[in-house]
C-alpha cells in the first residue's frame, strides 16, 4: 500500500508544518489553562500538606480560616490539647497583605505560627536555607517566591523583622508566598490597633462610668488591658495520635468545645469545591472555547487543503479509487496536523509554564487526555472535508 496522505504532506511539508505549529501554539495555550487549574488545586493541597494538620478547628459555623474569616481565642487550644486522640494543637493566624520589598511591594500571606516547641503544626516546612524562628520576636521565615533573602529586613505593619530562613512551595491557596512570624508577632500585626486608636479607646473607657467607676481606677486598667489584648487566632491546627480516628476526634471537639472542626478531606473539599470553584469554571469555559476554536481551525485547514485537491480527487475516483481510500487520506492528514500540533503545544506549554506568575502544573494524565481530545477534534473536523471529497463527481475529471 502507498500512503497518499504521507506523500501529500511530504510534498507540501512547509505549509503543513507551519499550520501545525500555529495549531500547536493554540493547543499549548489550552494545555496551560489546564495547568493553571491543576496548579491552583496543587497550591491548595500544598497549603494543607505544609500545615501538617489533621484537623482544623475554627470559629463556630464558619468555613475558616482560608475560605472565610475565622477568629477564636487562643485559650481554646488548651482544652483541645487535653482531649483524647489529640497529639498536638497550635494556634495559627493568617493575614494576606502587601509588604514593601525595596521600592516595590509583594503580596504575601503572613502566617503566625506557634514556635513554642519544634514540629508543631503550622510551622514553616521545606526550609531550603537558613533556620527556623527561634527567638520570640522580630524574626521571620520567608518563601523564596517573596524575593527576600536571608538577612533582609521586612516591615510588617509597625515592626521590622529579620529574615532568618527561606522555604520553597509554601504558598496560600491563592498562590501568594508565605511569610512566617512567631504567633505573638503575627497577632500583634493582625490585631493590634495603632496608638491613636488605643488613645481614643482609653478616653472612651475613661468617660464611661461603668467601665471607670469613680474611686476604683483598677477597673479601667483591667478593661484597657482586655481591650488591648490580642490573644486571638484564626484557627487551631490539631494533629492526632497514630491510633486515633480523625472523624472521631473531630466529633468529640465539636461536641465538647462547641467549635467547628474540619478534617483534611473536608478542608480539601472547601478549598477545591468552594474557594477555587469559580476560577475552575472560568478555566473550563476557556477550555471549551479553545477546543471549539482549535476544531474550527483544523476543520477549515483540512477543508481548504481538500478543496485544493478536488481535481486530483476527481481523477482518483475516475480511475477507480475507493471513497474509503480518499476519506482515509483526508483523515490521516487531519490526524497528522493534530499530532504536530500536540507535540508543539506540549513543548510550548512546558517552556512557558515557569514564566507564569502562579504555579502551572502540567500533569502527564492531562497531556494524555489532551492528546485524545486533539485527535478526536481532528477526526470530527475532517468530517466536512471528507463530505466534500465524497461529493466530488468523477465526471469532473473528464470535463467537457
Amino acid at each position: 500500500m502507498i500512503s497518499l496522505a504521507g506523500r501529500d504532506i511530504l510534498h507540501g511539508w512547509g505549509k503543513f508544518v507551519l499550520t501545525g505549529v500555529g495549531l500547536g501554539l493554540l493547543i499549548g495555550v489550552t494545555l496551560s489553562m489546564a495547568g493553571v487549574y491543576r496548579g491552583m488545586v496543587d497550591d491548595a493541597q500544598a497549603l494543607l500538606d505544609n500545615s501538617r494538620a489533621d484537623l482544623w478547628v475554627v470559629q463556630k459555623d464558619t468555613l475558616g480560616p482560608y475560605a472565610e474569616p475565622s477568629s477564636l481565642t487562643e485559650d481554646s487550644e488548651r482544652p483541645i490539647q487535653a482531649m483524647r486522640g489529640v497529639a498536638q494543637a497550635a494556634g495559627v493566624t493568617y493575614l494576606t497583605m502587601q509588604i514593601a520589598h525595596g521600592d516595590k511591594d509583594v503580596r504575601v500571606m503572613v502566617v503566625g505560627a506557634d514556635m513554642g516547641e519544634p514540629g508543631l503544626p503550622g510551622q514553616p516546612t521545606h526550609l531550603i536555607s537558613g533556620r527556623q524562628i527561634v527567638r520570640g520576636h522580630y524574626e521571620a521565615v520567608a518563601d523564596v517566591k517573596t524575593g527576600f533573602a536571608i538577612g533582609d529586613r521586612v516591615r510588617v505593619r509597625r515592626n521590622s523583622y529579620t529574615v532568618v530562613g527561606l522555604t520553597s512551595r509554601m504558598v496560600s491557596s491563592g498562590g501568594d508566598p508565605m511569610l512566617f512570624l512567631s504567633l505573638k508577632d503575627a497577632q500583634a500585626a493582625q490585631f493590634q490597633r495603632d496608638s491613636d486608636a488605643i488613645v481614643r479607646q482609653r478616653a472612651r473607657t475613661a468617660t464611661n462610668p461603668q467601665l471607670n467607676p469613680p474611686g476604683n481606677p483598677a477597673v479601667a486598667q483591667a478593661v484597657n488591658a482586655v481591650q488591648a489584648g490580642n490573644a486571638n487566632v484564626n484557627a487551631i491546627l490539631v494533629t492526632i495520635t497514630p491510633d486515633a480516628n480523625p472523624d472521631d476526634v473531630a466529633a468529640a471537639i465539636r461536641r465538647w468545645q462547641r467549635l467547628t472542626v474540619y478534617t483534611r478531606a473536608e478542608m480539601e473539599e472547601i478549598l477545591v469545591q468552594k474557594l477555587i470553584a469559580n476560577s475552575a469554571r472560568q478555566i473550563a469555559m476557556f477550555l471549551v472555547i479553545l477546543s471549539i476554536v482549535s476544531a474550527a481551525i483544523v476543520a477549515f485547514i483540512i477543508y481548504t487543503m481538500t478543496i485544493g485537491k478536488i481535481r486530483e480527487i476527481a481523477v482518483l475516483k475516475l480511475i477507480g479509487t475507493r471513497n474509503r481510500t480518499i476519506s482515509w487520506m483526508i483523515l490521516q492528514q487531519a490526524l497528522g496536523l493534530g499530532l504536530i500540533g500536540f507535540i508543539v503545544g506540549k513543548i510550548a506549554a512546558s517552556l512557558w509554564a515557569p514564566f507564569f506568575p502562579k504555579y502551572v502544573l502540567l500533569l502527564p494524565s492531562d497531556s494524555i487526555l489532551g492528546f485524545v481530545a486533539v485527535m478526536l477534534i481532528c477526526t470530527l473536523a475532517s468530517f466536512l472535508a471528507i463530505q466534500a471529497a465524497i461529493k466530488v463527481d468523477p465526471a469532473e475529471a473528464i470535463g467537457g
Binding site: L316, T321, T325, P394, A395, A397, G399
Partner: protein
C-alpha cells in the same frame, strides 16, 4: 476480428421536459480488440458524453453497451460496482494529464495496482517497464511539475495502461501537443492497442491526426456515421 466495444442505440438525454438536452439520440459503434478509432464532431455534438457513458461515469438513458464479452449496460447497469468496472476495464486519458502532483512519475503510474494491494516493489517495476516502453523511463523519479507537456501526457498514458484494461478512452489527448508529438502519441496508442489487444477510442479535433485513423466515427445530430479512410 473480436469486438472490444459494442454500442447499440445508446441514448443520453440530460434533464427532462422543456430543458432536456438530447446529447445522444441513438449511437451505434463497434471497436475491435487492438483497434484505434477516431471520434470527431462539432463542439457540443456529444463526444464527451459518449465517453462518459461508456466509461461508466454517467448513466445513459437507454441502449446497450458491451465490453469484450461482458454486457455492462442494457437499459440499466449490468454491473454493481462501477468503480471497480472503471478500475479494471477502462483506462482514461484526458486533454490535460491530471497527474497527482505529490507523487513522482513512477508512483503516479503505479498508484492503481498499489491501491489494489499489489506489493509496492512489484507495482513500481510494472510502472517502470511501461514508462520505458513509452520512452519516459529516464524521468521515472521526477515529479509531474518537472516534466514537459508531452512527457506528462505519456505518463498519463502509462497510467491508463497499467491495469491492461480492455478499453482506453481518450478525450482530446493531443490538444496540448505540437504536430510531431501529437502524431507520436497516436502512434504510441496504436502500438499499445496492438500489443495489449486494447480497444481505443480517441476523441479529437486535431486535423493533423485525423488522417491516421483507419476508421473514423463522426457524430452528427446525436448519431454516429462511420467513415473509412485510406
Amino acid at each position: 476480428m473480436a469486438e472490444g466495444i459494442i454500442l447499440e442505440n445508446v441514448v443520453k438525454t440530460y434533464g427532462s421536459g422543456e430543458t432536456a438536452v438530447h446529447a445522444l439520440r441513438g449511437v451505434d459503434m463497434a471497436v475491435a480488440k487492438g483497434e484505434v478509432v477516431g471520434l470527431i464532431g462539432p463542439s457540443g455534438s456529444g463526444k464527451s458524453t459518449l465517453l462518459k457513458c461508456l466509461g461508466a461515469v454517467i448513466e445513459p438513458t437507454s441502449g446497450k453497451m458491451t465490453i469484450g464479452d461482458q454486457c455492462i449496460y442494457d437499459n440499466g447497469w449490468k454491473v454493481r460496482d462501477l468503480r471497480a468496472l472503471r478500475r479494471d476495464m477502462i483506462g482514461f486519458i484526458f486533454q490535460a494529464p491530471y497527474l497527482i502532483p505529490f507523487l513522482d512519475v513512477t508512483d503516479n503510474v503505479a498508484l492503481l495496482p498499489m491501491l489494489a494491494g499489489k506489493p509496492n516493489a512489484e507495482a513500481r517495476k510494472m510502472a517502470r517497464d511501461l514508462l520505458d516502453a513509452l520512452d519516459v523511463g529516464h524521468r521515472a523519479a521526477a515529479m509531474p511539475s518537472q516534466l514537459s507537456g508531452g512527457e506528462q501526457q505519456r505518463v498519463a498514458i502509462a497510467r491508463a495502461l497499467i491495469n491492461r484494461p480492455p478499453v482506453i478512452l481518450a478525450d482530446e489527448p493531443t490538444a496540448p501537443l505540437d504536430g510531431q508529438r501529437a502524431l507520436a502519441v497516436v502512434g504510441l496508442l496504436d502500438d499499445m492497442a496492438r500489443q495489449f489487444d486494447t480497444a481505443i477510442i480517441i476523441v479529437t479535433h486535431d486535423e493533423k491526426i485525423i488522417p491516421t485513423f483507419k476508421r473514423l466515427y463522426k457524430i452528427r445530430d446525436g448519431r454516429t456515421v462511420q467513415e473509412l479512410q485510406g
